[in-house]
Symmetry: C2
Subunit: 519 residues, 2 copies
């Protein structure tokens, strides 16, 4: 139904154009389909490597992945795609989807062709070793062992950003743009400035409140097979369609997809039961997004989620705004008690919900609660900016990192493994990625504020009607894939440009109530 | 160690050639690597479809597979591979492996380019529907529903064989050659003639012997999770390396591989425990073959098993010659009793081995015992020959099928589902494939006869030293991949060309003893 209003791939729309200039787009299409097929194969290999492939397959399978990548690059940056694309940019009468696909293809082609092949190869070689070096350094709590590699990675990243930069564009802005269009440093300084100003004091008020939250019952005595049963139940409950998806296990939870009819996510079963529980709801949010992309768009260059931040908004919407709301548990908490009678029989729903919403500043981002999470991201944003724009000496990172944790979160890492070495992102060459985690939370809060105006959100959750919420998100966000960027989607949905004030209000309201302090 | 004698990819060998004509082969190599990478991706998709992919993914993923196939075909049959290949055919100084790779690539290129693209597409479309039509017809026990499709498939298969035929070559010989080089109708008539002459009377003698074998205890009361434990134990016991392989479940057991460090097999757990038990040993034989291919050959066009028949020889060697020998069970039968105490405590090893060697003519090939199996294949060979060479009317198939079963096996199918519709092969367009099943058994028997001359086979099994047997097969067969054809490998190993007499002797000896009848 929602799809009726969407002007995508419809014949009528196609015909609206003044002229169909020789069907160049039709000539381009099979090449793009082949490129997408190669990407899909690469995704399947990645999935398989993380979930199933035997231990010793790695180096051999890496060759296969390398060859497929080269085929992809040759296809997208070579002839005939190159000429067809430049003809298509002039072509009139394309649908919105076709224009968006051409736009994405041009960007991809430019990204691939602007870097001199020998430099690209040297960087690929560097990165193929760097995550191992990073992992070893982390294990040995030895930043010095990683520093020279990190320096080289930053060198290449800046170089490549320089190739891609438009006139006068700053290098870190080029990197940010890759993950989230429309969020330059100017915009992010404002965003993170607000978070720092509002959330650090809020955290202090919570810590000063003297409220103690009991969480001991969340840990231990939750057998993996029961956790698995719960994971499948919850995934289905929030809307993960097992006829179009798979839930497996891996060291770190993630979601990937081959197309909108094959979306795969993983989890891991730990001692603390809320770890897998919320990771499954989180990954379900990512998966539901991909399952909701319109059939007309899937398997094209705009057939995936709009951006990193928009993706994260959907996973966090389901994890936090839906999954950590007491109303969500009203219909299903008895099911939880039934699965773990010995652990939860005597724990009230209220106490369970309080426990999974406990605020507890910690050193590790991936274990952070909903409130402190953005402060972890803030620290990384500030440091990345200094590394890329101010030539910050890599050697100074561990100290600065520790100082910032002390300043914002009140705790100080005792070694680099729980400090600057905790994340894999920089080792992979991903600079400019972190902000999207915080943006996602803010997007989600803005969407929630909008939705709560037109529907009784709590009542829907209490009635178990997650579907209504999900379909609303699908209608406004999911079905459009990458057709429009995140700011446009947000504006089309909420009637307003990105406004982080909603996020601050949401957190103040939520924790004000939970900790009995004034917002 | 075994690899030391193998003249593959060694610099010294490379240099032996009179001249290295401009390194054309080096130019060809990256293209072939890309082609292999595409094939590997297609194999992973196939594996994934059979074992994990969600229900509704099919039609979307099929598009991806289609696009990858086209990329593969364009690469192998297009420029620059075409010119490079014809230059390489003239090039001197290539190693044995390089020459074999060029030979395979030329064959593949010719196979791909000789069929007019529109006919190939029409056939692909036909085949994409035909297995569904076949499955439905089988379900409905309705041969008429499949006959017109089968007729079309035969039409195309004959047409395509015609394109590939050398001057004067018969069409069925072209098809046979595709699966097993060196085994034309002339050779197979002789082979199957011998089987018919020797095995049909042997079967009658067994049936007349009056010996009853107790098999009731094999069925029921074997929980799947215990069967799984046994499967993993047995696979490892015969030499499946779980660091280079995966065991999963699927509707029909099969083995596939990405390369020699990633070999995957499946099984299914049924009520009759010997079904999965021997299917796992059988598939382990296939897997061990692929794991044994030399590192220098894997990921090239000669990096897989030599032929269908040679592959089947290894799976049947492990399943029958190793796995159904009482000596094999001597060290591990207690383990089996321990896993299923209630079922097997009171069953002696001797009775267990007798039970899993029972001869019982049946209608279904895949459930046949070791002796009658080849007779099922004989029937298919005779009918295929008539269909392709004598223009046998498809409508007459069910009747002829039933008559042959009655003649050779003494039983008559009551409907086409247990008769002519039982196998998927024809619906997939595979004509000439069946003989390799019987050839495999005969290859295995010839190898076993050779090995038994130089080692105490029974003693090795009794001591649990399957490794010695496996390494012997690896040294003579596995490591060579597709470098040499099956007749050459057999001759190099046993010192003798293919000789089916060993197979007949093996069966006569084995069943003569088991059923107490004169060989």
């Amino acid at each position: 139904m929602a799809d009726k209003n969407m002007a995508v791939g419809k014949e009528s729309e196609k015909m609206k154009g003044k002229q169909k200039a020789g069907g160049t787009y039709e000539k381009l299409k099979p090449y793009l389909e082949q490129a997408m097929a190669l990407q899909t194969a690469l995704m399947l290999f990645e999935w398989d490597n993380e979930t199933l492939a035997p231990k010793k397959a790695g180096p051999y399978t890496a060759k296969v992945q390398g060859a497929l990548s080269v085929l992809y690059q040759d296809l997208m940056a070579g002839e005939p795609v190159k000429s067809l694309l430049s003809q298509c940019q002039e072509e009139e009468g394309l649908t919105e989807a076709e224009r968006a696909i051409v736009r994405e293809a041009v960007e991809e082609k430019e990204r691939l062709e602007c870097i001199p092949p020998d430099e690209y190869r040297a960087f690929q070689e560097l990165v193929s070793k760097s995550t191992r070096i990073w992992a070893k350094a982390r294990e040995g709590q030895d930043f010095e062992a990683f520093a020279p590699t990190l320096e080289k990675i930053i060198f290449y990243q800046k170089k490549f950003a320089g190739y891609r930069a438009k006139k006068g564009q700053k290098l870190y802005d080029v990197m940010l743009d890759h993950y989230e269009k429309g969020f330059s440093m100017e915009k992010l300084d404002e965003f993170f400035g607000l978070l720092k100003k509002e959330l650090v004091p809020l955290l202090h008020r919570i810590q000063d409140s003297g409220v103690e939250v009991e969480t001991g019952f969340l840990k231990g005595g939750y057998p993996p097979e029961k956790q698995r049963e719960l994971a499948e139940y919850l995934a289905e409950y929030v809307g993960f369609d097992f006829e179009k998806g798979v839930l497996s296990e891996s060291a770190h939870p993630f979601t990937t997809n081959l197309h909108n009819h094959d979306v795969r996510m993983t989890t891991h079963y730990k001692e603390r039961m809320d770890s897998s529980l919320f990771s499954v709801i989180h990954e379900s949010g990512h998966a539901i997004y991909e399952m909701g992309v319109a059939d007309e768009l899937t398997q094209t260059l705009v057939g995936q989620g709009a951006s990193m931040g928009m993706h994260e908004s959907q996973s966090r919407f389901f994890e936090n705004i839906v999954g950590r709301d007491e109303a969500f548990w009203e219909p299903i908490y008895p099911k939880l008690q039934e699965l773990f009678p010995e652990k939860l029989r005597d724990v009230s729903r209220k106490d369970f919900v309080r426990a999974v919403n406990q605020v507890q500043p910690g050193l590790i981002r991936t274990e952070a609660d909903e409130l402190t999470y953005s402060l972890h991201v803030l620290i990384r944003y500030e440091l990345e900016k200094q590394l890329i724009e101010d030539g910050l000496d890599v050697e100074k990172l561990p100290g600065l990192w520790a100082d910032k944790y002390e300043e914002y979160l009140g705790i100080r890492p005792q070694n680099p493994a729980e400090g600057v070495l905790q994340d894999i992102h920089w080792a992979q060459g991903s600079f400019g990625y972190f902000p999207s985690y915080a943006l996602g939370s803010a997007f989600a809060a803005q969407m929630a504020a909008f939705m709560k105006k037109s529907m009784d959100f709590g009542e829907l959750l209490r009635k178990g009607e997650v579907k209504v919420i999900r379909e609303t998100l699908r209608g406004h966000i999911h079905r459009f894939g990458k057709l429009r960027d995140s700011r446009r989607l947000l504006k089309d949905m909420t009637g307003e440009d990105f406004n982080p004030q909603y996020y601050v209000e949401y957190l103040k309201g939520k924790y004000g109530e939970l900790y009995g302090i004034g917002g």
